[in-house]
C-alpha cells in the first residue's frame, strides 16, 4: 500500500509532510516531497487531501490484488472530487460532500 508523488507537479510546500499521521514524508533538497518508507504507509489519504496541486495519488499494489490502479482527490469547498483510474485506463469520477451524510 502506498502513495506516489508526482515530482513534476510537487511545489515543495511541506503540507503533506506536516499532515501525515505516521511522519512518513520528507522534502528533499530540490524541494520535492518523497515517501521515506513506502511499506509504512497506511493509505489514509490525508496527504492526498492536503496537496494543493494534486501531486499525490494512492496506488493499489499486487498485495491487495491491484495492478497499479490509482486514486486521486481534489478538494472543492465542502466537496471532494475523487478519480479512480482502473486497470483498463478507464477513469471514474465520484463526488463526496462533507455536508452530506452517508446513506449507510
Amino acid at each position: 500500500m502506498s502513495i506516489q508523488i508526482d515530482r513534476e507537479k510537487c511545489v515543495g510546500c511541506f503540507r503533506c509532510k506536516n499532515i501525515c499521521p505516521g511522519n512518513l514524508i520528507a522534502v528533499n533538497q530540490e524541494h520535492r516531497a518523497f515517501l521515506k518508507r513506502p511499506y509504512d504507509c497506511w493509505g489514509c489519504t490525508a496527504c492526498l487531501k492536503e496537496c494543493p496541486v494534486c501531486a499525490v495519488s494512492l496506488v493499489l499494489g499486487p498485495e491487495l490484488s491491484g495492478m497499479g490502479e490509482t486514486l486521486t482527490v481534489k478538494k472543492a469547498d465542502t466537496r471532494y472530487i475523487w478519480e479512480v483510474t482502473d486497470r483498463y485506463g478507464r477513469v471514474k469520477k465520484l463526488v463526496t460532500d462533507t455536508k452530506k451524510a452517508n446513506a449507510y
Binding site: P21, W42, C44, A101, A103
Partner: protein, 622 residues
C-alpha cells in the same frame, strides 16, 4: 540541539479523539493552561485520519445508558468495569450534540431526528471528524499544541510509597529538540497498540491494517515502565474486516443488510453466536473446517446501493472503493470477502488498558487516561472516547479548584521544579517576579496561567548538565545512547519483524488461528526479552530513526505485558480474542479482572481483582 522546557497546568499526551476533546473542554470550562503534545499533527492524527463511518455508541430514544452497559457487558462476557461503562454511557448523547455543533454531519429524518443504524448507532459523514475536533481544541488561547513531538517517558516522583506524575519527556520527530513537559495533571490519550503481531499483509503493505499503525502502544509502555497498573490486556481485539484492505464491514453488513456466508453459501453466524468475538471465531472455524473463504453476501444489490457504498467508503476507508473500482467489479457483482485481522491491544473496542478509578485517574496519582489507552470499558468507540475525555476534564478541573485552598504545597513543588531554570538567562522583558522563580508566593489564581517556557541549546553534555531534574537527565542520556551506539548488526525493521513472528507463532496470532498455550507463551516471553536486548543496542542516525527505535521499544514492552496476561487467564473467556488451548472452557473462578504491574526489577506481577458494580464509585486504595 536544543532542550525545550514547558510548564502548564495540564499536559495532554496524544491529540487524538480523546486528547483534542479534553483540551477543548478544559479550556471551555476553566482558565487552566493546557498543552497538547502530539506525535504527528492533530488535524489528521490517530485512528480518525481517514474518517469514520458511524457513531457506534449513542443512546437512541426508548433506550437508556443501562441498556448500553448491559449490552457491552454481555458482549464481553462480564469482564468489564460497569462503573466506567455507566459513567461514559450517560455522556454519549451530550458529546454527540457537541460533535454536531462542531460541524459534523449527522443524518436526520424529515422531523430533524437523528437517523440510527440499529439502536445504538448513528449515520454520519465522518470524513472530517478529526479536523473538526482539532479545530475545537485549537480555538482556545489557553490550549497550546506542539505537533510532531513523540513522547516517550513519564516524569514521576515517589512519595510515601505512592507514585505521582510530574510531567513527561519526548523528542521532535523532525528536529533535534528534546522536550521536558511539566504539569501536575496529565492526561495520557495515545490510543492503543497495533503491529505487535505479524500483520495480515506482511511485506510491502504491512501497514495496510485496520487499526492505526502509528499508535504503537506508547501510553501503555510509559505506564508499565512507571509502575502503573494495567487491566485485561489479554482481551485482545481482532477485527472482522474486508479482506486485504481491512476496511470496516459494518457499513456493508448493516447498510445493505448483507449476511456472512461461507463458501457453500450458508449463513453461519447463528452456529457460533453473535458477540463481537464470536463473529470472528465463527469465520475462523468455518475456514478451519474447509468452508472458506467467507464473505458478506452483497451480490445482487442494486446499482444505487453499490454507488452509495462507494461514497460511504470514500468517507472512511478510500482504499476499499479503489479496490472495487480497480477491477471493475463492485459489490453488486462479487461478494465481499472477510477476514480476521492481526490481534490489537485497544481499550476502545476491548477492555484492555490502564486500570483507573471511576474518575479515570490511573494508579499514578495525577495521571488520567481516556480513550483507547484506558481499560475496563469496551465498545466505547469514538463517542465513548469523547465521553471519557469529558469525565477527565471535569475531574481535573475540580481537583485544581480544590487544590487552590492548599496551594502553598503545590507552589513549593513547583518552586522545586523551577530550580531547573535558576541561573539561566531570563526571557527578555520578564522580571524575576514575573517568572515566579524567586518571588514570594504568587496569587494561586494567576499562577495557573502559562507559567513559562525555556529553551536551552548546546551539546549533549551541556544539556544534561544543565538539568537539576535527575530523571529528565537520565532520559536525555538514553536518547543520546541510541545516537552514540556502535553500528548495529540489525535494522529496526528486522527486529520488529522478529517480534511479530514470535507473537504470531507463540502468542496466538493469525498463524495459529489466534489460539495459544502456556508452553508457547514461555518461549514467547524468552524471545521477546532477547529482542528487547537487541532493541536496546540499535543505533539512530537521525530523529526519524530514533522515532522508529522508540516505536519498537513500546511494542516490545506491551508484548511482554500481554504475554503475562494471556498466561494468567487459565480459561477461554472470549473465543479468538483470548483462546487458551490448555483451558478451552470458560471458568467461574475467572470472573475477575486480571491486572498487572511492573516491579522495580522488571518482572510483571499479576494482580487479581474482584468485579466492580455499576453504581459503585471505584477509588484506588492500594
Amino acid at each position: 540541539m536544543k532542550v525545550k522546557i514547558i510548564r502548564k497546568d495540564v499536559l495532554i499526551i496524544g491529540g487524538g479523539a480523546a486528547g483534542c476533546y479534553a483540551a477543548g473542554k478544559i479550556a471551555e470550562m476553566s482558565g487552566l493552561s493546557i498543552l497538547i503534545a502530539e506525535k504527528a499533527n492533530i488535524a489528521r492524527s490517530g485512528c480518525l485520519a481517514a474518517g469514520v463511518n458511524a457513531l457506534n455508541a449513542y443512546i437512541t430514544p426508548g433506550h437508556t445508558p443501562e441498556d448500553y452497559v448491559e449490552y457491552a457487558s454481555k458482549d464481553a462476557n462480564g469482564i468489564v468495569r460497569e462503573d466506567l461503562l455507566m459513567t461514559l454511557s450517560e455522556r454519549l448523547n451530550e458529546v454527540t450534540e457537541d460533535l454536531e455543533r462542531m460541524g459534523l454531519t449527522i443524518l436526520k429524518d424529515a422531523d430533524g431526528n437523528y437517523v440510527s443504524r440499529g439502536w445504538r448507532n448513528l449515520k454520519i459523514n465522518g470524513e472530517n471528524i478529526k479536523p473538526l475536533l482539532a479545530g475545537y481544541a485549537g480555538k482556545s488561547e489557553n490550549v497550546k499544541v506542539i505537533n510532531h513531538v513523540n513522547v516517550t517517558d513519564f516524569l514521576t516522583e515517589k512519595k510515601d510509597g505512592k507514585i505521582r506524575i510530574r510531567g513527561a519527556a519526548g523528542f521532535g520527530t523532525d528536529r533535534e529538540v528534546f522536550y521536558l513537559l511539566y504539569a501536575d495533571a496529565v492526561l495520557v490519550a495515545t490510543g492503543g497498540a497495533s503491529g505487535l503481531y505479524r500483520p495480515n499483509n506482511p511485506g510491502n503493505a504491512r501497514h495496510k491494517m485496520w487499526y492505526c499503525p502509528f499508535n504503537t502502544g506508547a501510553g501503555y509502555a510509559m505506564g508499565i515502565l512507571s509502575g502503573a497498573e494495567m487491566t485485561t490486556l489479554e482481551m485482545r481485539f481482532i477485527a472482522l474486516r474486508c479482506k486485504d484492505t481491512l476496511a470496516p464491514t459494518g457499513t456493508i453488513a448493516q447498510g445493505v443488510g448483507a449476511v456472512q456466508i461461507n463458501a457453500e453459501g450458508e449463513s453461519y453466524e447463528e452456529k457460533y453466536g453473535r458477540s463481537t468475538a464470536e463473529r470472528v471465531w465463527g469465520t475462523v472455524e468455518e475456514k478451519k473446517q474447509g468452508r472458506g473463504p467467507c464473505c458478506l453476501a452483497t451480490k445482487g444489490i442494486s446499482g444505487k446501493q453499490e454507488e452509495d457504498l462507494y461514497l460511504a467508503y470514500l468517507n472512511m476507508a478510500p482504499v476499499q472503493t479503489l479496490k472495487w473500482l480497480a477491477r471493475g467489479k463492485g459489490p453488486s457483482l462479487e461478494n465481499v470477502e472477510i477476514d480476521g485481522s492481526e490481534p490489537y491491544v485497544v481499550g476502545g473496542h476491548a477492555a484492555s488498558g490502564y486500570w483507573v478509578s471511576t474518575d479515570r485517574e490511573t494508579t499514578i496519582s495525577g495521571l488520567f487516561a481516556a480513550g483507547d489507552v484506558c481499560g475496563g470499558a469496551p465498545q466505547k468507540y469514538v463517542t465513548g472516547a469523547l465521553a471519557e475525555a469529558l469525565i477527565v476534564a471535569e475531574a481535573i478541573i475540580s481537583r485544581k479548584e480544590k487544590g487552590k485552598t492548599k496551594n502553598s504545597e503545590v507552589f513549593k513543588a513547583k518552586a522545586a521544579e523551577n530550580e531547573d531554570n535558576a541561573g539561566l538567562p531570563k526571557k527578555s522583558g520578564l522580571s524575576e517576579n514575573e517568572t515566579g522563580l524567586k518571588a514570594e508566593l504568587p496569587d494561586p489564581q494567576t499562577m495557573s496561567i502559562n507559567i513559562e517556557e525555556t529553551d536551552r541549546t548546546g551539546d549533549w553534555e551541556t544539556l544534561k548538565g544543565s538539568l537539576s531534574d535527575a530523571q529528565a537527565a537520565g532520559i536525555l542520556e538514553k536518547y543520546q545512547k541510541y545516537f552514540s551506539a556502535s553500528e548495529s548488526l540489525f535494522s529496526v525493521q528486522q527486529v520488529e519483524e522478529a517480534m511479530q513472528k514470535v507473537m504470531d507463532e507463540y502468542a496466538g496470532g493469525i498463524r495459529t488461528n489466534y489460539s495459544y498455550n502456556e508452553a508457547g507463551l514461555v518461549i514467547a516471553d524468552e524471545k521477546i526479552q532477547e529482542l528487547q536486548a537487541l532493541q536496546e543496542g540499535l543505533r539512530a542516525h537521525s530523529m526519524d530513526e530514533l522515532l522508529q527505535i522508540y516505536e519498537l521499544r513500546e511494542r516490545l514492552i506491551v508484548a511482554r505485558a500481554l504475554i503475562a496476561h494471556l498466561g494468567a487467564r487459565k480459561e477461554t473467556r472470549w473465543h479468538s480474542f483470548q483462546e487458551n488451548s490448555d483451558h478451552p472452557q470458560k471458568k467461574k473462578e475467572y470472573e475477575l479482572y486480571i491486572n498487572s504491574r511492573m516491579e522495580d526489577d522488571g518482572t510483571i506481577r499479576i494482580i487479581r481483582r474482584p468485579l466492580t458494580g455499576r453504581r459503585e464509585k471505584y477509588e484506588h486504595s492500594d
